[in-house]
Symmetry: C2
Subunit: 168 residues, 2 copies
DNA sequence: CTTGGAATGTCAACAAGGCTGACATAATAT
DNA sequence: ATATTATGTCAGCCTTGTTGACATTCCAAG
């Protein structure tokens, strides 16, 4: 159970004690609350929720993405996603275009209003992230990303890395 | 909007570009899913949810804590928490003892069954965290924690630090 | 001793956002 | 021709959050 079973075998493995792990767990819990707090405020003003934020974020990230693709990134059922997409389309934030090659597919795009909402949400979230990054410094940020990446499911990590290539 | 407005003023501030921030945002989203995946599986087998996990975690962390204290840590309404606590008490996982000094207060403790569930949940979650920590290494873990701490709300960070002191 | 307020519990109602299952439609693939 | 895929939709259920109202118990101040 604990890591107190064996000797540290040469390396310093104190960062793997149950206590260190518990701190990491609590840090994740508390930090995620901060991470979502600012967008949540904006969203609730407009009658949306976190699910709308996610949809808008990934449509903005990959304009023209299909519903199926979005489903596999978000990891929810099509019924859940559809409820969210329907309201976004009705409110004129998202446009759904029938595919040219495969007419079964719908390609999703943000309208100008959708882009405005996305910008408001990501500005708020980036401000928080920027403050944390600046405070912690570049080396800490690198470690932060390394740990988070290692915490993902293998399949999720594929999505993350595919998206990551877009930048840099 | 972007950090491309001014020169990096001597330091290397490339880690604060919008693109780096976006990657951090997506890493948080994807990693949090992995972070909760293992406990979620155990919980759903037993008919519980994430809210039960949180309650059990923090009662284990601070045995004898009051309902009010738990409320301020979890950041939910008493009605939400009460629903969760009631089911845990009914199922014999949590014991609620009337306070000795102040008999209005209820002090919460895990029963043996409650401790067993807590152990199952935290073992699963620690395994994931340990794997990520080991893969990333001690310096990365330090950075991970620095960034997460800086991302919390000020009030939340107080709770986090108070809890943190318990260990070390 | 009375009264105000704090801590807690509980009831009702509601909403978001997950889920499953079933079914419909259109278009592509075999 | 038939099977499969992509999508949408309806109905219903669950968890977990919310608000508002009200009861109880008890400490503490007047």
């Amino acid at each position: 159970m604990a890591d107190s079973s064996g000797p540290p075998s040469g390396e310093n493995l104190l960062f793997l004690t149950d206590d260190q792990l518990r701190k990491g767990i609590e840090a994740m819990f508390f930090a995620y609350r901060g991470f979502t707090a600012d967008p949540d405020r904006i969203l609730s003003e407009k009658g949306y929720g976190r699910a709308h934020h996610r949809a808008v974020h990934f449509i903005n990230r990959s304009p023209g993405t299909t519903v199926n693709n979005l489903l596999s990134i978000l990891g929810v059922t099509k019924q859940s996603l559809n409820r969210v997409l329907r309201s976004l389309i009705e409110d004129g934030l998202v446009e759904s275009r029938i595919g040219k090659q495969d007419k079964r597919e719908r390609h999703l795009f943000l309208t100008e209003a959708g882009e405005a909402l996305e910008r408001a949400l990501s500005d708020a979230q980036r401000d928080r992230m920027r403050g944390a990054f600046r405070q912690a410094g570049p080396d800490a940020v690198s470690g932060f990303r390394q740990v988070l990446e290692a915490m993902m499911d293998a399949e999720t990590r594929r999505h993350y890395k595919r998206l990551k290539e877009g930048g840099t």
